[in-house]
């Protein structure tokens, strides 16, 4: 068996997040693999539908809840179209975990601010649950999450669950024009809302993931709030194939995103050529 041969996983749950976004819950078929499998928040995998190919997504479930893994994907290409066809009980392939991770253990005792947009909540959600499952080890938690419209918000049930908890501040927003008459949350772009929420940067780190334009405008807001570049973490989306630093596709500057990333600090990103 080579490094390119996936493990077989069974789809045990299918959850429609939005009209074009879906979560899958996957269980390793091989018992020994299921027992032995471990990963860190932020790592990714290659998910495959045999006949369509492999696609790269982060593992969206937290390592604190072993037994099954979850991924969340948007319908964009050939593989995601095929993934949408799979149903509970079907077999797909998984290779991973690959890449580096958010240094969650180093953040013990610190405040953590989560900033996410659209489907970018998936990798952040992995960290959120990881930290909520070890809540005592961390300081204040703030989540600022937004999507284009109410319909485009992913993990809607969990957003309500987080909003109902008193040990985490959860602010959910939709872009202007994306609200419905029933919408009770905020209306405004994520960077603007982030500036309004204004979480303290003292002894804090930020985790940010979302569309490039959201990231671009959120960085200056975080900077203004006092977050140092090496206290801001993000995860890069890059076209990948092998996931193990061989195929050359995700190479930017001297970095192989699949090995040196996908998690980077803002400080590291600023040193990279803008080829992502």
């Amino acid at each position: 068996m080579t490094i390119y041969q996936p493990d077989l996983v069974t789809v045990v749950d299918v959850i429609d997040e939005t009209p074009d976004t879906r979560s899958l819950r996957l269980e390793f078929q091989d018992e020994a693999t299921r027992e032995a499998f471990g990963f860190h928040s932020g790592q990714f995998g290659e998910y495959s539908v045999f006949g369509a190919g492999e696609a790269t997504f982060c593992i969206a479930s937290p390592p604190t809840r072993p037994g099954a893994i979850e991924c969340c994907f948007k319908l964009v290409g050939k593989v995601t179209t095929a993934l949408r066809e799979v149903d509970i009980g079907d077999t797909i392939g998984f290779r991973g975990p690959y890449g580096n991770w958010f240094p969650v253990d180093e953040w013990r005792g610190k405040d953590v601010v989560f900033v996410a947009g659209g489907i970018g909540l998936a990798p952040v959600r992995c960290v959120i649950w990881n930290i909520l499952d070890r809540r005592d080890e961390f300081g204040d938690l703030t989540i600022v999450y937004g999507a284009r419209t109410v319909q485009d918000l992913v993990y809607k049930r969990e957003l309500q669950e987080w909003q109902a908890r008193d040990d985490v501040t959860t602010v959910v927003t939709v872009d202007p024009g994306g609200e419905t008459p029933e919408w009770e949350g905020r209306v405004g772009f994520v960077p603007t809302v982030l500036a309004e929420v204004a979480p303290s940067a003292a002894n804090a780190v930020a985790v940010i993931c979302g569309p490039p334009v959201m990231i671009k405008f959120s960085f200056p807001v975080l900077e203004k709030l006092g977050f140092a570049d090496d206290a801001v973490y993000t995860t890069l989306e890059m076209r990948m194939k092998c996931g193990v630093g061989k195929c050359g596709r995700c190479n930017i500057g001297s970095v192989y995103v699949c090995k040196d990333g996908p998690v980077f600090t803002a400080a590291q990103l600023k040193k990279l050529p803008a080829e992502y």
């Binding site: 080579t2 190919g53 076209r239 092998c242 192989y256």
Partner: protein
């Protein structure tokens, strides 16, 4: 350079080499060597306009798994493609699947390859193997590559230096090199002087080659002849190109947006022929090929950073939209990224990319320009120049 390291050379006549290869083939051992794969004598001659000219007799030389020893064409020029396809094939199966009811069965390829021997390999092609070993073995190990590497005993053939596009010496190689190989052949009158440089090479000589080797009366003079061939080639290549590899590495890494680097690719058509013929370009794609609805094969195949498809996301976003930045990536990967990451220049100076480029992109010229900029520590040309016209 002293030729003491060649003191235990054996003499192998052309006829003995043919017998040795025949013996290996009869025993079922795969023998890879430069061979004439197409010539004006073949039925495919209609294909070649050159063949139809009066008196024309061009040959096409490729590395091939020999059917018989007569195909062998050692020392008759640089094979069109490098040796890499024998280690990273143009396409190969990674896994095949078959549906059984609701379940699925996967089958991977064999990773242990039967022993084989490669003869007459250009030193630049052998060196590439050792350089690419690095990326195939950092952290995770590519079993398919490694399996073929372990199974193959490689003998280089000292190269006379093909033409003005060769520059192995500028990137740490030498025309009589054995890097990535297990021994060296040097052409002499009537045959070759042969020497092993690794245990694997010595084992091959002891078990197969030694029986065919002779100890002719004139062995001293043959040794001198071989040494003369090698030193002449080294002198020849020394005049081709001299660059400061570490300076280029640091300059390219630090000056990513320099107009020199973004203007180098202006006449590049993005055809990817350079990456196909390159012994060190190793980027690949992974594709699924269904065979009906219930089974199929996942394959990897050569890919090229010179097409837009290489980096385009499913969303349509492409971080390298233009050809000039794709060309920069090729230079950057070979002369900065790989050296920084693996301590090796991802180029052995074989010159194939220059020869195959019909748009006139010339790596010797390009490296000279970057070297010039690196040594001076500032851009060599302005944004609106194309960076050409050295001659």
């Amino acid at each position: 350079m002293s030729d003491e390291r060649h003191a235990d050379e054996l003499y192998l006549t052309e006829e003995s080499l043919t017998r040795l290869v025949d013996e290996l083939l009869t025993a079922g051992t795969e023998v890879i060597a430069p061979a004439v794969t197409g010539s004006c004598a073949s039925p495919a001659a209609i294909a070649s306009a050159a063949c139809l000219r009066p008196g024309a007799a061009p040959e096409l030389i490729e590395y091939a798994a020999l059917h018989d020893a007569s195909q062998m064409a050692l020392g008759r020029g640089l094979p069109n493609l490098s040796l890499k396809g024998f280690f990273l094939p143009q396409e190969e199966a990674l896994v095949s699947w078959r549906r059984r009811g609701t379940g699925l069965e996967l089958r991977g390829p064999r990773v242990d390859a039967p022993s084989r021997i490669a003869l007459g390999v250009k030193p630049c092609d052998a060196a590439a193997l050792e350089i690419v070993d690095k990326v195939m073995n950092w952290d995770t190990k590519d079993e398919l590559w490694n399996g073929r590497r372990e199974a193959t005993t490689v003998f280089t053939l000292a190269c006379p230096v093909e033409d003005e596009s060769c520059f192995c010496a500028a990137v740490g190689g030498t025309p009589d090199g054995t890097r990535g190989a297990d021994g060296l052949f040097t052409p002499v009158e009537g045959g070759y002087m042969v020497q092993a440089t690794t245990d694997k090479g010595r084992a091959f000589i002891d078990s197969h080659l030694a029986a065919h080797a002779g100890e002719p009366a004139q062995s001293d003079s043959l040794r001198r002849q071989a040494a003369g061939f090698r030193s002449a080639a080294r002198e020849r290549i020394a005049g081709h190109l001299a660059i400061d590899g570490p300076a280029i590495r640091d300059w390219v890494a630090a000056n990513f947006d320099d107009p020199l680097l973004t203007s180098l690719g202006i006449r590049c058509n993005g055809c990817g022929a350079c990456t196909s013929v390159c012994p060190t370009c190793h980027c690949f794609d992974i594709v699924d090929e269904p065979d009906g609805v219930s089974c199929g094969t996942r394959r990897r195949c050569w890919d090229t950073c010179q097409t837009g498809r290489f980096t385009s996301h499913a969303s349509g976003h492409n971080p390298r939209e233009d050809q000039n930045v794709r060309f920069r990536q090729r230079i950057n990967h070979k002369f900065a990224i790989y050296p920084l990451r693996f301590g090796e220049i991802l180029c052995t100076g074989c010159g194939r990319c220059t020869r195959v480029c019909h748009a006139g992109q010339d790596l010797v010229e390009i490296l000279s320009e970057i070297d010039d900029a690196a040594r001076r520590g500032r851009p060599a040309v302005t944004a609106d120049s194309d960076g050409g016209g050295e001659g």
